[in-house]
């Protein structure tokens, strides 16, 4: 428990470092939040308050920016973030079917994005610009093109297999 608390403090240090790097400039808010999200993988409420205080801004304003942009998440995400592109080309080539398959396999839906074991988060995202390869799916940073429902299940199973192996090994 103690190390966990220490970790948290150290991470607040990181937030401060980011803010200092940007010289406490309010105009850098979006970039600051992006970098903070890199550290935490989401934006915890305490951190938003911390950022607001450091920049001498109302928390509401910081919250307003954080909720305006799709990239910012106020909830924790899974270890593997699966983004299914919902651009036009992907849509006409069956991305919604792909999304349905993934969601039903992981027992998720349009409201529930993250599995209880915090392993997977599934998001339908706006066009990723790889339209020539539609439908497109991204697992963490890796882009997969022309993904059929069968192939998506395959990729998912591979990750699950790998994770179970690591879990049982440790």
């Amino acid at each position: 428990m103690k190390t966990e608390t220490n970790n948290k403090i150290r991470q607040f240090d990181q937030v401060l470092e980011i803010i200092q790097k940007h010289k406490y400039q309010k105009t850098r808010l979006i970039t600051i939040l992006q970098e903070v999200q890199e550290v935490y993988r989401f934006l915890p409420q305490e951190v938003l308050t911390y950022v607001a205080t450091a920049l001498d801004m109302p928390v509401a304003e910081v919250y307003g920016v954080a909720t305006f942009y799709a990239h910012f998440s106020l909830e924790a995400k899974g270890k593997y973030v699966i983004k299914v592109c919902n651009g036009t080309a992907c849509h006409v080539k069956g991305s919604s079917k792909l999304l349905d398959t993934l969601r039903s396999q992981l027992r998720l839906n349009a409201e529930k994005h993250t599995t209880d074991d915090m392993l997977f988060t599934i998001e339908a995202v706006s066009c990723l610009g790889a339209c020539g390869l539609a439908p497109v799916m991204v697992i963490n940073e890796q882009v997969y093109g022309e993904v059929s429902s069968a192939r998506s299940s395959e990729l998912l199973n591979k990750i699950i297999e790998k994770e179970t192996e690591t879990a049982s090994a440790s």
Partner: protein, 636 residues
Amino acid sequence: METLAKTDLREVKQSYNHAAERIHKRVVICAGTGCIANGALKVYEAFEKAVQQAGMSLFVELELNYHEDHKTIQLTGSGCQGFCAQGPLVNILPEETMYTKVKVEDVPEIVERSLVQDEVIERLLYKNPVDGSRSKGQTEIPFYKRQNRLVLGECGHVDPQSIREYIAHDGYLAAEKAFTEMKPEEVCHTILESGLRGRGGGGFATGKKWQLTLQEQSEKKYVICNGDEGDPGAFMDRSLMEGNPHRVLEGMMIAAHAVGADEAYVYVRLEYPLAVSRMRKAIDDAMDAGVLGENIFDSGHSMFIHIMEGAGAFVCGEETALMASIEGKRGMPMPKPPFPAQKGLFGKPTVINNVETLAAVPLIIRNGATWFNAYGTANSKGTKTFALTGHVANTGLIEVPFGTTLREIVYNIGGGVTDDDGKVTGEGFKAIQIGGPSGGCLTEEDLDLPIDYDNLIAKGAMVGSGGLVVMNKQSCMVQIARFFMNFTQSESCGKCVPCREGTKQMLSMLDEIIDGTATQETFELLEEVGQVVKKASLCGLGKTAPSPVLSTIVKFREEYMQHIHDKRCATNNCKALATISIDPEKCIGCTACARKCPVNAISGEKKQLHFIDAELCTKCGVCHQVCKFDAIIGFN
């Protein structure tokens, strides 16, 4: 590379070309997002290994010293070459042989036969989907042969990560000319004369925009490059930033000189991580080389460029919203006037141009206005890039002069319309969606229409950023309209009522049509609300949001009527209106579906054809899932 203090561009070019002469062969591997997804980086690594194993020298960056007795191979990753569906693409120069869908296993053979020897490997050449014939390279492949790649020209040829290579291709000469030989007024005039119009959607004359900004008296002015390419189905800006970032920077420098600015921002979507990193490297390299920074080209002028990563908001493509976002605020648009030219970023006069527009600028300064305006139609000059996607054989990025017809694009460059299995069929064309969520649908009767800004507006569509999505007869147009409405509704920033509430109402009415609960009244109200949103919204997002709906209503009124009155979706895309049946040709009577049907709606004897009782059927889709013979019709 050494710092090119006050870079002598010609010297760099000369030494580069001198070194290039000694290259035996050049291997250019496409490293755009599409090809990387298909494994291009692994192919690159395989080449590194195989070339060295074959005893040849390998250069990634050209060096001035070399081995006389070795065959020297230059290996380069390039930006997007446009032919994404055929990736990873590997070009062998000087022969200009283009290999498609190259796998790691193919690499040793390519090295042995096409690099050590001069053979062509037939099976890796592009195969025409219509007649199965093979084409050797870009000069022969119909997809490339029929294009005019000016803006995209160097994309896919130059190494986007090498400033020297860009300079060797006459890069930064136009900026040097502008800064050292031309007055700002002259630059504005040349661009005005060229007839270049904004490529981001609006189509405003670029030269005019620059003149208006130049006129303003202010100590500080800004240039912004709008790379917030949010239109689903468009990726030309991404490809340009990934494939030729220095050209974009050069365009920004020229714009800055033309309006009297010394600082600029590139606003890039965060969904394009590769574009962000390539632009960032390009700026760093240009700073190191002295192309950017203080007193550039000994002209007494300074120029600094920053990168701003977006955070995922479509509305930020709108110029006033984009500026608010750079200032760290919620990206909400402002009423115009004042225009950015008068009061823009941080309250200073600002010129904001799209990536493709800026990428065309160096070419115009280098080759002259008349060179550029020789392409195109009376009021739409030059060429335009389009992202050709959807149900078409050759998906990818293309560039054609304004005035080209859709028929040429879909059938000759695109190779024809495909069915849902990806096969080219003679008569599958239903519609083409142009201009994304701001645009509209065009049909068969518009195929011979020369594409330009004004012709498309007259048809209720727009050039927009240039997404072209081809749709076959299996596509439901109400669903397409709903798709775009859903997009604009969720991207509406909420500032003005017509857009915030109107798009919501329009979406729910479209849902009623799709669910089979709509009446004629719903339909008429949908049209009416559409007109209100179009007229009363604050910014471009709202003003054009109803376009996909209104244009499909005009072009496919019958289809809407069928949904509303007959409660039928002919393409079976709308689940509630689909008719589920069993294909007598495919059903073998295995009884799997009948056993699994939760409402016992399927009947039939073993080894006999089965039937579905439409009255009982709840369209749950279980039969479709369990059928191993794909015999259930109606689930698209």
